[in-house]
Structures are given as structure tokens and as C-alpha cells.
């Protein structure tokens, strides 16, 4: 059979256990591809998440051309700033895409096709075992669940608004948080922001969640609900309803 419709994770496990090399392509608007080399996951891409190129270009200048594995940063394993940025962007894009491909709606209906003949894209970096990939995807799912169930429920597709006035006279943000804050407007969601700045959807959602915790942002209300009160203290209280800040715990996400 050329196309298969078994769960993606089952197919992936069989390919990894057999030590296969090639590309597993998933069709559809939610689709993408997982690249394997001798059973290791070397890269993943999704149509719903940015690839590593844009982020790397913003971090460290133009990236390598496709197929330029011998000169890609990171190939020599020297640990320079450029090498670290490249390895990070590829790894983060892979986890981000894998989370999209392996999570959410049941994946039974997705058409998959594995091609041995298609050389995998490794970006000059070592691969991951399937167990490592699945452990990280599960950890991220737990964090996504924590954010969705927080006092200010947030997902990658939640519309955002800036809190109109801040209660604190001075606050401090990171470079990434600042890049997000200046782009909030209209129909911004963590996913649209991620595409705009080239960062992963998951990392952008987490950073947006921290900005909600700091009282800079809140989620957009449905049109039927009343608009936030104009004074600063009320605005901050609306941003974080209830007592305390919405927080995620990495420790709780890994369990025991």
C-alpha cells in the first residue's frame, strides 16, 4: 500500500525500530514531514509551525543554503555562538513540528507516505531517538494543558490584547518579550506572532503566557462581554483574574 492511515506514532515507531532512513510525509493542511536517518529523528517540519531558517537569520545572519550540510553551522561541533544558535533553531523547529504532528486531533485520518529514496534533511546535526522525541512531545503537551487550564486560558490560537495601562511604573522584559510586545495588535495570537518573528509556536506561547503573568497582555474577550475598565489597577486585575499569577511548572510537566 502506497498511502497508509495508521496512527502516526505507530508508523513512526515501526520505522525507528527498523532503523530506516528516509522521509515520512503527512498530507493535508495539518501535515508535514519527519526525517529519519538510521532510525533516528533528524528533523521534522509542519505546515503550522515556522522552520529554523527565519529565526536563525534573525539571530545570527543568513543560514546555510539547502543541501549545504558540510558548511552548516554546528557541523564542526565547536560550540561557537553561531553553532549553538543553529543547533537550537533546528532542534526547536523539530520539536515544535513534532508536537503539531503528533498531538491534538486524532491522527488516524492523515495520509502518510514513507520514501526511502528521499534523503532526509539533517542540517548537519545529530539526530534524536524516538523515545527522546516522544518524551519531549509529552512534556510539551503537559505544559500546553497547564496554560489552557490556567486562570487566563491560553492556547497557540487565542487572540491577544495589550493591557491598556500598567499598574507598575517600571518593569523589565527580555529581548524576546519586547519583540512580542511591539507586535501585539489586531488579531494577534501566539501562532501569528511566532510566524512573524520566526520563533517556535510553543516557545512563543510560553513567552506570551509569561507576559500575561506580568500583566502586560491578556486574552481578547468575546464581543458580547463588557470591555475592561479603563483605570490601571482594574486593567491589571482583569489581566490576571483571581488571586496570584497564572504560572506554568516545568517540574509538574515532567512528573515522576
Amino acid at each position: 500500500m502506497y498511502f497508509q492511515r495508521e496512527p502516526l506514532v505507530v508508523r513512526l515507531r515501526r520505522l525507528a525500530e527498523a532503523g530506516r532512513t528516509g522521509v515520512l510525509r503527512v498530507s493535508g493542511d495539518d501535515g508535514g514531514a519527519i526525517h529519519l536517518s538510521e532510525g533516528a529523528i533528524v528533523y521534522a517540519e509542519s505546515r503550522r509551525t515556522p522552520g529554523p531558517g527565519t529565526l536563525f537569520a534573525r539571530l545570527a545572519g543568513p543560514g546555510p543554503e539547502p543541501g549545504d550540510a558540510d558548511t552548516a553551522p554546528g557541523t564542526g561541533g565547536t560550540g561557537s555562538a553561531r553553532d549553538l544558535a543553529w543547533a537550537y533553531t533546528v532542534r526547536e523547529a523539530t520539536f515544535d513540528a513534532a508536537l503539531e504532528l503528533l498531538s491534538g486531533r486524532p491522527r488516524y485520518g492523515l495520509q502518510q507516505r514513507f520514501r526511502d529514496s528521499e534523503p532526509p534533511t539533517a542540517h548537519g546535526l545529530p539526530g534524536l531517538s524516538l523515545a527522546e522525541l516522544l518524551a519531549e512531545v509529552e512534556r510539551r503537551r503537559n505544559l500546553v494543558r497547564q496554560m489552557a487550564e490556567s486562570p487566563v486560558p491560553l492556547t497557540a490560537d487565542t487572540p491577544l490584547v495589550r493591557v491598556p495601562d500598567l499598574a507598575a511604573p517600571r518593569m523589565q522584559v527580555s529581548a524576546l518579550q519586547w519583540a512580542l510586545l511591539i507586535r501585539i495588535g489586531g488579531t494577534a495570537t501566539p501562532r501569528t506572532l511566532a510566524w512573524e518573528i520566526g520563533h517556535s509556536v510553543f516557545a512563543t506561547t510560553l513567552e506570551v503566557f509569561r507576559l500575561v503573568a506580568l500583566g502586560f497582555l491578556t486574552v481578547a474577550r468575546p464581543a458580547a462581554e463588557p470591555a475592561p475598565r479603563p483605570d490601571a489597577a482594574a486593567a491589571r486585575s482583569d489581566a490576571v483574574p483571581g488571586d496570584g499569577r497564572p504560572m506554568v511548572s516545568f517540574l509538574r510537566a515532567v512528573g515522576r
Binding site: L59, D83, A85, P126, M171, V173, S174, A203
Partner: protein, 137 residues
């Protein structure tokens, strides 16, 4: 299979006296990017998650205090181990944490911190905090 650049960073901290375990963590997502010196009695996922939580809480505190600077180091002293956490940014929008677990009976804390700060000036440089910028956001 090529070596990861994170392994190259970790190979330098392996030389610290009393080294037991080290890992590079993405501070934003808590993802472990590389590790060295796995120990059966030390759970890497738990260590990494706890380190990322700690850095996250300190970042929230620093933001609220507008402390004109971000986290540089954290030293956690346990009865048998030192946990040294060093934050570094190979690029302005990247925040990594380098966690090194040392055996207290073999480690010299002052020397270890000095060595950790000098791992690689090219790859390891503090990220400038943007203090007060949100005014007018």
C-alpha cells in the same frame, strides 16, 4: 553522526573538579538541549525542569523589580551536591541555562564558579535586559 555544539560546551565543564552532571537547557521552553555525565541517582528531566522553573521565577521577580539586569548565576547548596546554574545568551533572543552538578566533597565552589563563567566568552555572554522599555507600550 556529527557532534552537537552543545556537547562541545559541555565537554569544557566536564573538567571542573567534582563534576557529576551537566546540561544545557533552553530557559524559555525548559527543553534539554544537551547533557553530559548521566548519573543513575540524578534524574535529568527533574533537574532540568527544576532549573528552568527556578530561572523563570527569578525572571518574573527581576521583571517586577525592574532590577536593571537579569539573572547571571544561581548556586544551590544541597547536603551532597552543589547545583550551579549559569545563564547565557548566544544571541539576543536566546536564553540558555547551563546547569552543572558537583560533588561537594570534591568541588571547590569559588574555583568552579570561576571556571563556569569562563567556559567560552564567544558563546557565553550575558543578555542585556531591557529595563523600563515597556513604558508606553
Amino acid at each position: 553522526m556529527p557532534e552537537s555544539p552543545f556537547d562541545a560546551v559541555l565537554s569544557r565543564v566536564r573538567r571542573i573538579d567534582g563534576f557529576r552532571l551537566g546540561c544545557v537547557i533552553d530557559a524559555t521552553t525548559g527543553t534539554v538541549l544537551g547533557s553530559a555525565g548521566r548519573q543513575e541517582d540524578l534524574s535529568l528531566p527533574v533537574l532540568a525542569a527544576g532549573t528552568a522553573d527556578l530561572a523563570n521565577v527569578i525572571a518574573l521577580m527581576a521583571a517586577d523589580l525592574a532590577a536593571d539586569g537579569g539573572l547571571e548565576d544561581v548556586v544551590v547548596t544541597l547536603s551532597r551536591h552543589y547545583h550551579l546554574i549559569r545563564r547565557f545568551s548566544p544571541a539576543p533572543r536566546l536564553r540558555f541555562l547551563l546547569l552543572v552538578v558537583l560533588d561537594r566533597t570534591q568541588a571547590n565552589l569559588a574555583m568552579a564558579l570561576r571556571e563556569l563563567r569562563g567556559v567560552d566568552p564567544d558563546a557565553v555572554r550575558p543578555e542585556p535586559a531591557l529595563s523600563g522599555r515597556p513604558q508606553g507600550v
